[in-house]
Point group: C2
Chain length 314, copies 2
C-alpha cells in the first residue's frame, strides 16, 4: 500500500526492466523524492553520437513518451534518418529513431561543449519535464565488454547486433577502476530513506553500477535500507538474457543465485510468489525475504509492487 | 540544341538557383562529363554537425530526391528530430529534415574520422548514385560573414534566421586567404571544354569560390571558354537576395552590373531576352553576349538553357 509518509527513495536501474518498477514508484510517491542512478555501461558512440540507452529509457518512461510496447524509444517514432544512414553504408543494427536522434545530438553537442554526461542527463530530463532526478552512475565512459566464444564484443554488439547468442565467458567494465561516481550518486545512496535495486540484469545492468569505485561500499554501509527486487522468476529472466548469462558464467539462474550476488549490500530481497520455496535459501544468506508479485505486465502491477516496497519496514 | 559532341563541362555553383541549370545540363549531356565546383561558404556547424547546404542541394537535385517545390532537402521529408531539438532549447531556425540529418551525421562522422570534406562529398554522391562529380571549392571552412547594421552575422544567420532583412555593409570570406582549392578543382577548370558559371548569387555563392586562392586566376586563363549565366533578370534576382545585396553594396543590380563583376574571367555572358537592350553595355566590357531565356520554371526550360550553352561556339 502507498505510504503516506514522504520517504525518499534512491533506485539503481538498468533500462527496460527497471523502468517498469520506476514508473510504479513515480506513480505512487512524490516523483521529486525519487532519485535514479542509471547504468551507463551500455553507452556507445555510433556515427559520432554518444548514445546512453538506459538513461534514455528511464527518462522517456518517466516522461510518458516511451514506446510502451518496445519499452524503449519514442512512441509513434519514425526511422527516416536511420534508413539514410544505412544507405550511406553506416551500421544500422542499432535502432535510432528520428526523435530519439535529437536526444543523442543534443547530448553529444553538450559533451563537445565541455559539459558532463550528468549535465546532459539533467538537461534532457528537465526539457522532458521529468520530476525525478536521473543520475548516470559516472560521467566517464565505462563500456561493458562481453568476452564471448566469438571474441570480445561491446555490450551493444553482443546484445543488439548478435542478439545475445554468443556464449558468454566473461564480463569486463572497461576503465571502471579509474572513474568515480557522478556528482550526487554517493549522497543519494547515503541520504535516501530507502534504496531500491530494480529488477535489472544483475551482471550487466546493476553490475556496472556496482563496479564504479565507492558505490558498492556506500551501499554496504546502508545494507539495512537496501531492498533488491529479483529479476529472475521461476528461473527465467523477467526481461533480457539475465538467465542465460548467469548460467553461462557459472552462476545459478535463480532467485537465490541473484541474492548471493547482492548479499553483501542488500538487507532485503523481494521474490515473486513463484519462488517462495526458495525463500529459506535466501534467508540463509542473511537476507530478509519479502514475497510479492514481481511480474509487472500492467500499470496496476507496477504500482502495486512499488507500493509494497514503500510499505516495507526498514 | 543538345550538342552531339561529348564536351566536358565544369560548372561553378551555389545552391538552388544553380541546381536548376545543373539539372538541365545533367539531362542533356552525359552526366559523367559534368563536374560541379560548389560554394561551401554557406557551410555551418549546428548541433555539432557539419552542414554543407549547397553541396547537399546540388547532390540531392542531381540524385532526383530533392524537394522540388522548395529546391532543397528531401522530397516528402519529416522534421521530427528538429521538433525535439527545439524542445531541448536548441536553435531551430535552420531546417534540418530527418533524412537530411543522416547526411550531416555521416559527413560529420567522416570528418571526425579524419576524412576531408571532398571525401565526404564524394561518398555522399556515390551513395546517392549521382554520376556527376561534385567538388567542394575547398576542404577547409571559409564561412561567409555578412557585415550588417546589426553587426556581423554568419551567412546562414543573415539569410535564414534574419531572412536577409538587415542592410548589408560588407561581405567577408573568413580565412579564404589561407586555404587552397580542393583536390581536382583547378584541374577541372583547366581541362574542361566549357566552364559554366551558374545563375547563382555573384556575391555570396560565386564570390566565395572566386575568393579561394588560385581559382579566379585559373578561370582568367580559360576566359574564352567561360560562360556565365546572369542571375539577374529585369533588375531582379531569379532566386534569393542577390538584387538587394548588390544594391546595398553599391553595385548595379542588373545584368551589366553582374557582368562587370565577372568581366576579368568570363568571355561570354548569357542574358535573358528581357535584358537584351543591355547587351551593348555588356559588350563594352569586352564580353560576348548570348541572349537566351534564362528563367527556368520547368524541366523543359532547364534543358533548353542547358542545350543552348552546349551549342555555344567557344
Amino acid at each position: 500500500m502507498p505510504s503516506a509518509k514522504r520517504d525518499t527513495i534512491t533506485a539503481l536501474a538498468g533500462g527496460v526492466g527497471a523502468s517498469k518498477l520506476l514508473l510504479g514508484l513515480h506513480d505512487v510517491m512524490d516523483p521529486h523524492d525519487l532519485t535514479v542512478i542509471v547504468n551507463t555501461g551500455d553507452d556507445i558512440v555510433l556515427h559520432g553520437l554518444k548514445i546512453s540507452p538506459d538513461l534514455d529509457i528511464v527518462t522517456y518512461t518517466l516522461a510518458g513518451i516511451v514506446d510502451e510496447a518496445k519499452g524503449w524509444g519514442f512512441r509513434g517514432e519514425t526511422f527516416h534518418a536511420l534508413e539514410r544512414l544505412a544507405a550511406f553504408g553506416r551500421i544500422n543494427w542499432f535502432n535510432l529513431g528520428d526523435r530519439d536522434l535529437a536526444t543523442h545530438i543534443h547530448r553529444s553537442a553538450m559533451l563537445a561543449e565541455g559539459k558532463s554526461l550528468s549535465d546532459a542527463a539533467e538537461a534532457i530530463r528537465v526539457a522532458l519535464a521529468v520530476k525525478t532526478r536521473i543520475l548516470p552512475m559516472c560521467d566517464e565512459p565505462v563500456p561493458t565488454m562481453i568476452d564471448t566464444a566469438e571474441g570480445e564484443l561491446h555490450f551493444q554488439e553482443y546484445l543488439v547486433k548478435r542478439r545475445a547468442e554468443p556464449v558468454v565467458r566473461g564480463i569486463r567494465f572497461d576503465g571502471a577502476d579509474k572513474v568515480r561516481p557522478a556528482n550526487g550518486v554517493l549522497d543519494a545512496i547515503r541520504d535516501a530513506d530507502r534504496i531500491v535495486v530494480c529488477p535489472s540484469n544483475p551482471l550487466i545492468s546493476i553490475g556496472p553500477i556496482l563496479a564504479v569505485p565507492g558505490i558498492r561500499e556506500a551501499l554496504r554501509a546502508r545494507r539495512e535500507t537496501v531492498v533488491a527486487v529479483c529479476p529472475i522468476v521461476g528461473g527465467k529472466s523477467l526481461k533480457g538474457p539475465s538467465d542465460k548469462m548467469l548460467a553461462e558464467l557459472g552462476y545459478e539462474a535463480s532467485a537465490p543465485g541473484v541474492a548471493k550476488l547482492y548479499a553483501d549490500f542488500s538487507g532485503t530481497f523481494v521474490i515473486d510468489p513463484t519462488d517462495k520455496k526458495q525463500a529459506d535459501r535466501i534467508r540463509d544468506l542473511g537476507i530478509k525475504v519479502e514475497v510479492v508479485p514481481t511480474v509487472m505486465a500492467t500499470r496496476a502491477q507496477k504500482r502495486k509492487l512499488a507500493g509494497s516496497l514503500l510499505a516495507l519496514k526498514s
